[in-house]
């Protein structure tokens, strides 16, 4: 039972087919001969398909190698351009709950490029309030290089009031970037209507390939390149265009956006059943993030496939392992390649305690998810939580019960206790 669709979701069969067709062909879209022109045609038709699906112009579609690259390009590129045009502009305003692809760019710009970062707080549901953005800008409007706020949070699923936030930034003529990798194909995302200047999307969250993404970049938004070379994408991004991946991405975006409304409604229903079922079986489990019962810019206030829950007294990685052994694949929310899992910066920003942050799981439903997936989770969740609760927070600084038992054993031995 794969319940980790926010990490990556299976490719749509039509996207696989589109890629397979292109893999079998030769042609660099930048070449001038017939094979090159044929590849170029595939790329440009894909660009138009994507642009139409997300309410952008074809010239606003910059193909990249994925979400992380798009975020790096937007944050660094727009910062550099804005700073170079006016050296006072060294401040970047971003939310505290951004993905590391944005947060780590900010940290790097702070260390190496003299940027100042203003962190926007979130409320207990993980939401940024436009008044907070206005206040942050008002500290010194002329200093601000850009604002970056994600469309919807990858961990807790809370959707941000992007249109309103972008409007606030625009009152001060400040460009606005949004990381929308979790939103496209799930929420109504319209680049032009939202008013944002730059938007990140990626293929593998919506049924397309890994390693293919887009930065939507408004026609008049200056952005300094991160990668230098052939200048293939509007002189903002270099590198040979990956025709197969782009073809697959376009099919996936069109497919996901095309049946978005019905699929999102279905997933929200499944998700509500999942949350209800878990809380029935584990009464002290708590849903994190917005409950999703309101509307915002024509969509729900929570990602429809997202159920992020805290299980008091449990460690998330113990829950994950026990569920994995029972065929349920989910996530603790913030994967960490170092293996040393940090408590989620998102939950901490929402005011959760470290223990609550550690004891959390994210179940993310996606296009193939069914009632049976949820039913299987509900079958196993109560004994798994019981088990994890007994294991407690071993590894952290709390003394566990059985450590004391061992000590007692040692004491007995010290006193020359009986042989076993």
């Amino acid at each position: 039972m794969y319940l980790d669709h926010a990490a990556t979701t299976p490719m749509l069969p039509a996207a696989i087919q589109a890629m397979a067709e292109q893999f079998a062909r030769v042609g660099n879209p930048s070449s001038l001969h017939a094979a090159g022109r044929e590849s170029r045609r595939v790329v440009e038709e894909s660009r138009e398909t994507i642009a139409a699906a997300v309410g952008a112009g074809p010239n606003e579609v910059i193909f990249t190698g994925g979400g992380t690259e798009s975020d790096n390009l937007a944050v660094k590129g727009i910062y550099w351009s804005r700073r170079d045009a006016d050296l006072r502009r060294r401040r970047i305003i971003a939310s505290a709950v951004e993905h590391h692809a944005v947060l780590d760019c900010l940290e790097w710009l702070g260390k190496h490029e003299d940027a100042d970062v203003t962190c926007l707080p979130v409320d207990a549901l993980g939401r940024i309030h436009p008044a907070e953005l206005r206040a942050a800008i008002e500290e010194a409007p002329e200093d601000v290089a850009l604002v970056s706020v994600m469309w919807a949070n990858n961990e807790v699923g809370t959707v941000q009031p992007i249109r309103e936030l972008a409007a606030v930034a625009h009152e001060y003529d400040i460009p606005f970037h949004t990381d929308a990798v979790q939103a496209v194909g799930v929420l109504p995302v319209d680049f032009t209507a939202s008013g944002v200047d730059a938007l990140t999307l990626t293929g593998h969250k919506l049924g397309g390939p890994v390693g293919a993404g887009v930065l939507l970049l408004g026609r008049d938004v200056a952005c300094t390149p991160v990668l230098h070379g052939g200048g293939q994408e509007r002189d903002v991004r270099s590198g040979t265009l990956d025709t197969p991946a782009i073809a697959g991405l376009a099919v996936a975006v069109a497919g996901a956006v095309g049946d978005r409304s019905a699929r999102s409604a279905r997933l929200a229903g499944l998700r509500d059943g999942l949350v209800r079922g878990v809380v029935q079986r584990v009464p002290d489990a708590v849903l994190n993030g917005d409950p999703g019962d309101q509307y915002l810019d024509g969509g729900p206030t929570r990602l429809p496939g997202n159920a992020h829950l805290s299980f008091p007294g449990c460690e998330g990685d113990a829950l994950l392992m026990l569920l994995d052994a029972r065929g349920v694949e989910c996530s603790t929310g913030s994967a960490c390649s170092a293996g040393v899992s940090q408590p989620s910066h998102v939950l901490l920003a929402m005011g959760a305690s470290v223990d609550r942050a550690r004891g959390s799981l994210r179940f993310a439903l996606g296009h193939p998810s069914t009632d049976a997936d949820v039913a299987h989770l509900l079958d196993v969740i109560a004994p798994v939580v019981d088990r994890a609760r007994r294991a407690g927070m071993a590894g952290t600084r709390r003394e566990s019960v059985s450590v004391r038992e061992h000590t007692t054993g040692a004491d007995r031995s010290e006193a020359g206790g009986p042989a076993r």
Partner: protein, 353 residues
């Protein structure tokens, strides 16, 4: 049985896990993250907690076809092993962090968590034999690790599995190679795993600050040098004393004792290092208390020499008389009692005589 295999990323724990799988057990691999900020790559033969080591462990688990996870025990390790290491040196003793890690982390915190999560026992790649509750030396005397396991109680040993005790290290490497495990030729790790650059003195100085003091000759009572901190020394140490002039008798000088309170490090000629009795703390018996006084052998350092020994308890604390004088015996180390190759128990050395 459902077994949790602790996988460091080295060859021993990989083969131990493989043998547990072959024996028909349901095995899950776990790599322990013990550093708060693991380095990306190993440096020489030190450490077992870099990302490279975690990757090696994961690749071994892939080859064995077992689930694999990283367990984060860095806070417990910092409290129970690293802080203990620092405070022991600060108190003038010479700790053995591997032994402490077995006692407090691998066969305590990790074992507890494993049992609570439904595992029946923990498998490790230690070179020691364990059957029916009896812990014995490995058949490979050069690789025997029974010394660092002698702190374990019967309760802890009852939940441990050591599949490598009947094999030599060479056998283990050959087997790893036959099994297609990429770690077959990985160098053995040694030195203190959490001191990546191998500079124990520098590590302690960063934690404790400089605490200068005198080097005093035990025979003449003269001050023969200065040092930056008594914690930088260990009993029996000869190198790095930086004594300006040769001793009166022309013989090399060794550290005899360390007094953290006065920061005085006493040095003297080799014969003054001779120890014929050790006074240790309360013992841990690995398989119940033996008949006392106990007659057998004692080992006082990891990979140290073995002496005939007679042990008895004085007010619950272990006193061991040695048949042959031993040198370089430091408070803080463990005295481990053996009956032949069988581990009887251990205690921490408090003083020597």
């Amino acid at each position: 049985m459902r077994l949790l295999a602790a996988m460091s990323g080295g060859v021993d724990s990989a083969v131990a896990a493989a043998r547990a799988v072959d024996a028909g057990h349901e095995v899950t691999g776990v790599h322990l993250a013990l550093s708060p900020a693991p380095a990306s790559l190993r440096q020489g033969a030190r450490g077992c907690c870099t990302l490279e080591d975690a990757r090696d462990a994961r690749r071994a688990a892939d080859v064995l076809g077992i689930p694999f996870y990283v367990w984060d025990f860095h806070e417990r390790f910092a409290d129970d092993v690293v802080d203990d290491f620092v405070s022991e040196y600060a108190a003038g003793r010479t700790p053995n962090p591997c032994l402490r890690c077995n006692e407090k982390i691998k066969f305590a915190a990790v074992l507890d968590r494993a049992v609570a999560l439904g595992f029946d026992a923990v498998v490790t790649g230690h070179h020691a034999r364990l059957s029916d509750g009896v812990l014995r030396r490995s058949v490979d005397s050069g690789k025997d690790q029974s010394y660092v396991l002698a702190v374990l109680t019967p309760e802890q040993l009852a939940l441990a599995v050591f599949p490598l005790g009947e094999s030599t290290k060479a056998d283990v490497r050959r087997e790893a190679s036959t099994r297609g495990l990429a770690v077959a030729d990985k160098p053995d790790s040694h030195d203190v795993c959490f001191i990546a650059d191998g500079d124990t003195r520098g590590f302690l100085a960063r934690r404790l600050g400089e605490r200068p003091g005198d080097l005093v000759d035990a025979e003449s009572g003269a001050v023969v040098g200065r040092h930056g901190g008594a914690f930088g020394f260990t009993v029996g140490q000869r190198r790095g004393l930086r004594i300006g002039h040769p001793a009166v008798d022309g013989k090399p000088r060794y550290v005899l004792s360390i007094s953290p309170a006065t920061s005085i490090v006493t040095v003297g000629p080799a014969p003054m290092l001779d120890v014929t009795a050790v006074h240790a703390g309360p013992p841990v018996w690995t398989n119940g208390a033996p008949v006392l006084p106990f007659e057998g052998t004692a080992q006082l350092r990891a990979h140290g020499a073995v002496s005939g020994a007679r042990a008895h308890l004085v007010r619950g604390r272990l006193v061991v008389e040695l048949q042959e004088a031993q040198r370089g015996i430091a408070p803080g180390q463990a005295v481990v009692l053996y009956a032949g190759d069988r581990v009887v128990g251990s205690a921490t050395i408090e003083s020597t005589g």
